[in-house]
């Protein structure tokens, strides 16, 4: 694991993994969404709006999973000081924020015909909105730290503290009364019919690969910027 923290080794892997993840993700997402849009039958209670869940559920999973990965990368950076772990956390933040925003937007679009309202201030929706604000604060903090030369430990500590929100999101539908349904998939169990579960799993896998490809692309960009900046600084010192 520590061996992959070497930027050269990381780049040799990321160069072929980035296009592979993005291409495989695009194919799987296209298959799952055509399946969800045109093949599955309308749900008895939700009607046609059940099709929105093939987008909304992967977005929710990746919004929460993204912050969990960001917190793990922050912990690795704080404990072992691997600079690549800090880059990974920064690389996760933007797609995590985008997917959380898309989760909230698609959930709201689903809620209007199903619940009769675009938004309710219940535990699940509010804690998910808090997650979006945490992502935005992390992005601002990490960019400010990089620009002003402040220690990267500050956004890492923030990333770790923000993880407190993840179990709150997960348990919110159990702890508080909510319009949102309780968990449909738990460890090894699913309350979802096979007709909907299979395209949902394909869609989740496809979006996860896309998320991974985006994170790798952003990490490569951050690494290239750091290397170019270091080279320019060295040259300026040589001239002086």
């Amino acid at each position: 694991m520590h061996g992959y923290a070497n930027p050269k080794r990381f780049l040799s892997l990321a160069r072929w993994m980035t296009p592979l993840f993005l291409a495989a993700g695009l194919v799987l997402v296209a298959v799952a969404l055509v399946w969800g849009l045109l093949v599955v039958s309308p749900d008895r209670l939700m009607g046609e709006t059940v099709r929105i869940l093939f987008l909304h559920v992967p977005f929710a999973w990746l919004g929460m999973g993204g912050w969990s990965a960001l917190a793990i990368a922050s912990l690795v950076f704080l404990v072992w000081r691997h600079p690549l772990a800090a880059l990974a956390a920064r690389g996760i933040a933007v797609p995590g924020a985008v997917f959380t925003a898309l989760c909230l937007a698609t959930g709201s679009i689903w809620g209007r015909p199903t619940w009769g309202t675009w938004w309710v201030w219940d535990g699940r929706l509010t804690s998910m909105l808090v997650l979006l604000f945490l992502y935005m604060a992390y992005i601002a903090l990490a960019q400010a730290a990089a620009r002003e030369g402040i220690s990267a430990r500050i956004p890492a500590i923030f990333g770790l503290l923000g993880a407190i929100n993840i179990p709150i999101i997960n348990r919110s539908v159990v702890w508080w009364n909510s319009l949102h349904q309780p968990p449909s998939i738990t460890m090894g169990k699913s309350a979802i019919d096979g007709e909907y579960l299979t395209p949902l799993l394909v869609s989740t896998l496809g979006f996860s690969l896309l998320f991974g490809g985006i994170v790798l692309a952003r990490m490569r960009a951050l690494l290239a910027e750091t290397q170019a900046e270091a080279r320019l600084r060295r040259r300026a010192l040589e001239v002086a």
């Binding site: 980035t18 993005l22 695009l26 997402v29 969404l33 849009l37 009607g47 046609e48 709006t49 099709r51 929105i52 987008l55 909304h56 977005f59 933007v94 797609p95 985008v98 925003a101 898309l102 937007a105 698609t106 679009i109 689903w110 209007r112 015909p113 979006f207 896309l210 490809g213 985006i214 692309a217 952003r218 490569r220 960009a221 951050l222 290239a224 910027e225 290397q227 170019a228 080279r231 320019l232 040259r235």
Partner: protein, 50 residues
């Protein structure tokens, strides 16, 4: 009075937003990566010049 909503309007809006947002993020991240790596390679080749 009961409001009549066409569920397909909501389904199509969610798909347009979800697919558009995801594709925009993929393309943006790819372009940022290609640009940053080109700048790094340019700074490397500029160093080799006498």
């Amino acid at each position: 009075m009961r409001e009549v909503l066409d569920q397909w309007d909501f389904v199509l809006a969610a798909y347009a937003l979800g697919i558009g947002g995801t594709l925009a993020t993929v393309v943006w991240s790819w372009l940022v990566m290609v640009g940053a790596e080109a700048r790094r390679d340019a700074s490397r080749s500029a160093r080799r010049e006498p």
